[in-house]
């Protein structure tokens, strides 16, 4: 009776760690967003208005979609796939931000709407995907309705802690040590790598379960 409980805890710890990383990544990217937009749209107060609006809106949608997705055959494999997709959707920030912002700058004169459009083009999709991870994590962690509140609380705690650390580490140190593109690529690689590891873990779990089941059958 003891043994399976232990292995479940180990898995859960891993999921909490992943949620922490997604929180970290979201705020790291949001903080860099101000720097990315500034050359074309300046650093007036409304630039941060645009950025925060887009991030909040896409997180809201991400929570909704992630929750919905978790109702249909939720699995660790799919969870890992979301991480990989999040990592990939961050890459256009590095590869295409300059021409994207340039063309928006040329077509929209008002820097309020220009910055809103640019932050939508660059950050809307990756932030939706990153937002999906939170409700999906809850689905993977909750075993019975009695503990669901506590699990959700712990998850918010861990991912928001990640956000706080992502904010301070990026603004205090990372921008002092690295180029913006280097930081974005690193976050993208980190998320993809974690997604890949998650899928490997899921496969290992499955084969472990399979062999255990076979053992149980042969014992019977």
């Amino acid at each position: 009776m003891q043994e399976p409980k232990k292995s479940i805890n180990y898995n859960n710890l891993f999921i909490y760690f992943l949620a922490f990383t997604s929180g970290f990544s979201i705020m790291c990217i949001e903080l860099l967003a101000g720097r990315i937009l500034a050359p074309f749209f300046g650093s007036s107060v409304h630039i941060w208005g645009s950025i925060i609006t887009v991030f909040m809106l896409s997180l809201a949608l991400g929570y909704l979609f992630g929750g919905k997705l978790s109702t249909r055959s939720a699995s660790l494999t799919r969870y890992g796939a979301i991480f990989i997709i999040a990592g990939l959707t961050l890459l256009p920030i590095v590869t295409s931000s300059t021409w994207l912002m340039e063309s928006i700058f040329l077509s929209v004169e008002d820097s309020r709407y220009g910055s809103l459009l640019a932050s939508t083009a660059l950050f809307f999709i990756p932030t939706i995907i990153l937002g999906m991870l939170s409700p999906y994590s809850v689905r993977l962690l909750v075993r019975n309705s009695n503990e669901s509140g506590q699990v959700a609380g712990k998850l918010y705690f861990v991912s928001t802690l990640g956000s706080a650390l992502g904010t301070i580490i990026t603004s205090f140190y990372l921008v002092l040590w690295f180029d913006i593109n280097t930081i974005v690529v690193s976050v993208s690689l980190l998320l993809s790598l974690l997604g890949f590891i998650t899928i490997v873990v899921a496969k290992m779990n499955a084969s472990l379960f399979k062999s255990k089941a076979q053992r149980d059958i042969s014992h019977a």
């Binding site: 050359p39 074309f40 300046g42 040329l106 913006i180």
Partner: protein, 312 residues
């Protein structure tokens, strides 16, 4: 009885003391919290100053003498006028960072035929300049409430050109980091007319000095530095088409020109000694005071505020 008389005398002394202190102390005649900072207008006798975020001693201010508003009070504003010695007749001038508008007023007085565009991100600063510092606007002097970088980019699209660009957007507390990068300086350089010059008020007391110097050199090549005798402040003076090989020859040529002599007389009336300005000009071709391999600030890497933290 004696006791109460003593109290009365103490009281009188106390009142007297307060009034003396009050006379010597600055009187805040206007304060407001704008979207970007706290704005304070202070009167201290004849001196009126615009201050941002008072508590810091790094705060840079814009001041004028109420009795002689055209006289320049601060050294760095005088140093900025060195630009006129190199380019005596700029037709179109762009000032990024308004402050009290004293620079714009002074230049209009010196060059009544020139066109001046002022760019200031903070609408409240523009209002304060108009209300308390006699900031003058007319058909030739325009003000744009916009981010400096955005203004420069839009001006490039409109194919505008300026003979003199003055960068003074830093108040000492917070540096808009996108206004200190190589890409930004390249944009302002493209906005200069072929003979155009750029002057910038810079940071000389922190790690940022080296980065900023290297960035200007990467864009403009060698440039002039104008420092105070005590090195507390440095102005960068860069030319669009580079520096002449021989600064002294050039200086001599300038000194002999008639328009410069006229200018020098004009400058003297507003408290600027042109001779002193000449003395303080140094070319980075001969006086480079930072290592050659210093890192350059770019849009990708521009932690200007973090570099400016530890002044030494």
């Amino acid at each position: 009885m004696l006791n109460s008389a003593g109290k009365l005398i103490y009281g009188l002394y106390f009142l007297l003391g307060i009034s003396i202190v009050n006379n010597a102390m600055a009187e805040v005649i206007h304060s407001e919290r704008s979207l970007y900072r706290n704005i304070l207008v202070e009167d201290k006798g004849d001196l009126r100053c615009l201050k941002f975020n008072v508590k810091s001693n790094k705060t840079r201010q814009s001041c004028l003498l109420k009795s002689q508003p055209q006289r320049l009070v601060f050294n760095y504003t005088k140093q900025l006028l060195t630009g006129l010695l190199v380019n005596p007749k700029p037709k179109r001038i762009l000032i990024i960072g308004l402050g009290g508008g004293t620079m714009s007023n002074t230049l209009h007085q010196l060059l009544p035929d020139s066109y001046i565009d002022n760019v200031e991100i903070d609408e409240s600063v523009i209002k304060v300049a108009r209300q308390y510092f006699g900031f003058l606007e007319n058909d030739q002097i325009k003000t744009y409430s916009q981010d400096g970088r955005v203004f420069v980019k839009r001006a490039l699209l409109k194919k505008l050109q300026y003979d003199w660009i003055i960068l003074d957007a830093f108040n000492g507390d917070y540096i808009p980091e996108h206004l200190m990068t190589k890409e930004y300086l390249e944009e302002t350089k493209r906005l200069l007319s072929p003979q155009g010059i750029l002057t910038a008020n810079t940071f000389s007391s922190s790690k940022l000095y080296v980065y900023e110097s290297a960035t200007y050199k990467a864009v403009f090549g060698d440039y002039y530095q104008v420092s105070n005798p005590d090195n507390s402040n440095r102005i960068i003076l860069a030319r669009n088409n580079g520096l002449d090989e021989n600064l002294y020859k050039e200086q001599a040529a300038i000194e002999q020109s008639e328009s410069i002599t006229k200018l020098a007389i004009k400058l003297l009336t507003i408290g600027v000694d042109a001779k002193q300005l000449y003395k303080n000009i140094k070319s980075t071709a001969t006086h480079q005071d930072w290592p050659d391999d210093s890192p350059v600030l770019t849009d990708q890497f521009s932690p200007a505020n973090l570099l400016n933290i530890d002044g030494d």
